[in-house]
């Protein structure tokens, strides 16, 4: 039994590597290749042309990265502001037809975004919100909010009203209760929802393309033409950059959360 465990572990690990790690190898090779054609297993010649174009050239990559991140963070912040009260109401209050409200909230996950975006586009055209970052932010809310609400709802489900009652009896008003009792409990849920929200916002192509009308340039907007028939080397370089940014953002958020908890603990031990 004890011997099969490490064996099983290594098999699983290998499988994971094949599924996740392996696709990156041709991607990396492709990004530094110069004319890589069938039936060659490895590229015939290497060059950093693609990376030069992506990182240094006048491609506007860094501009796109910052617009992507800006949109993702604003979307996430708005999501948190919307999701916390929504989750509170959905979990705590006995509403008639609650299932209908939930169905509406979670519909964007089920219904293809394209359907909704066509309608949104028309409305935004009338309101003059197309081609603006603000419009894109609004449009990104619909596919991301459901995940945030879901995550925060689960946190609320495990928070018994007794905790708040206890804080009340100790003299805490509604703001203090939220700050000292509710928020610390919700934080893991908020962090989970925020990660999803950032990732989904970063990877939106269609919505950004339609609402932004090519004027709001995010990383996927830059990436897409190269994938759909342009230059595979540049497409690979962009894909790697995109993956790198997504991973860095997640790691950064995780580190911030860990640091928050460590500070709490350290502060308590020192104080």
């Amino acid at each position: 039994m004890t011997k099969t465990r490490p064996f099983l572990k290594s098999i699983l690990f290998t499988l994971l590597f094949i599924l996740i790690g392996l696709p990156f190898i041709p991607l990396i090779l492709s990004s530094v290749s110069f004319g890589w054609q069938w039936p060659n297993i490895l590229p015939e010649s290497f060059s950093f042309r693609a990376w030069e174009y992506v990182l240094l050239g006048s491609s506007g990559t860094w501009q796109a990265v910052s617009v992507s991140l800006l949109i993702a963070f604003i979307v996430t912040a708005v999501n948190i502001l919307l999701a916390v009260p929504a989750a509170n109401a959905l979990v705590r209050y006995p509403l008639r037809g609650k299932w209908l409200l939930e169905a509406m909230l979670f519909a964007p996950i089920v219904i293809p975004p394209f359907v909704a975006v066509m309608g949104i586009h028309l409305t935004f055209l009338r309101l003059g919100l197309t081609e603006t970052v603000f419009g894109v932010v609004l449009a990104h809310l619909s596919p991301t909010l459901p995940y945030m609400v879901r995550a925060v709802m689960i946190s609320y489900n495990t928070l018994s009203i007794d905790w708040e009652d206890q804080a009340r009896m100790l003299g805490a008003g509604s703001l203090s209760r939220f700050r000292h009792v509710v928020l610390p409990h919700l934080l893991p849920g908020i962090a989970a929802g925020a990660s999803l929200s950032i990732l989904i916002s970063l990877s939106q192509y269609l919505i950004t393309f339609i609402i932004g009308s090519g004027q709001v340039v995010t990383l996927p907007i830059l990436l897409f033409p190269f994938i759909s028939g342009g230059d595979p080397a540049i497409a690979s370089a962009y894909s790697l950059l995109f993956a790198g940014i997504a991973i860095l953002t997640l790691i950064g958020m995780d580190a911030a959360l860990k640091k928050y908890y460590q500070n709490k603990k350290a502060g308590a031990e020192n104080g």
Partner: protein, 357 residues
Amino acid sequence: MSSLRIINIEKQYQQTQRKSDPAFSLQPVGLTINEGEFFSLLGPSGCGKTTLLKLVAGLLQADNGEIWVGDANITAVPPEDRRFAMVFQQSLLFPHMTVEDNVAFGLKMQKVGKKQRLADAREMLEHVGLKGFGLRFPDELSGGQQQRVALARALVANPQVLLMDEPFSALDPSLREEMRELLSRIQKQFRVTVLFVTHDREEAFQLSDRIGVMSEGTLLQVGKARDLYERPESRKVASFLGLKNSVEGIVAAGRFISADRSFDFPVEETIERGPCHLILRPEVVQLKILKEDPLEDSIQLSGVIQQLRFNYGFYTGTIQVGIYLLDCSFTSQQAEGLVVGQEIDVLVNKKDLWFVA
């Protein structure tokens, strides 16, 4: 003097969606709890005692009635401004705060400076026997310790009234005993007014100055433990206090006659005529020593021993008299001569007879 007065507090719950369980309602309750008094609400689960406690706390809105502390009407004051404290069944310590911060929380809400409130918190932790535990987190403490912290947290801000909702029922029996002693000592030390809810009569008897017995949303009787036990006003109160010996009968023409006529003895004129129940406490049923004549002031009953059980240093015997089964207490010495199935005579002093409607 700041006594706590509950004036005709009333609460009606809406019918739940399942038609089978009836709507619960708390009948109007009037009660005055004196400053520094330890008052317990005793009753089976679902009798409304926790509802009453939450109404006093302000966590529930009453339909009718008022709550006063001293000469201030606090009915409309939100719970956070009442300066009450509450200890729940679970300790409900905030998991992301140290024990010290938990205890100091109430003072923090009152905007007491950090140094002062931590000093007060440490002092209170010492009172509950947890000196040096201040920097730990709640999950590093045992259940009993957590409940001590909860008690310290409730007391640190010097509340007007301490409300407790079955605070020890989640602990194991030996720990419960210890916590009762601690609570009793601290309550006397700080002279805090306590409103305590429990379904455990032993707990209520041990701790309380006065007890209110509740059942099905009604406050049945209020009194000192001994008065309740020796003079219950109704059969419900008697049975909840563990007085199971209840004999149905009728008082007429100066005699009590049970329904099956196995009890038939003269009673005093002061006892109201009509159908009633005779309540016999187990310890007033005395074994008759052979050849001794029944005394003037006693009644004699004859029965068959159905069961003998050893019970913490004494025996509980079940005797069948007529169609009734009576529990009575025997000392180990008395019980030695007895066997199941034996016919015995028992005596009850007339002053220990108690009739309820």
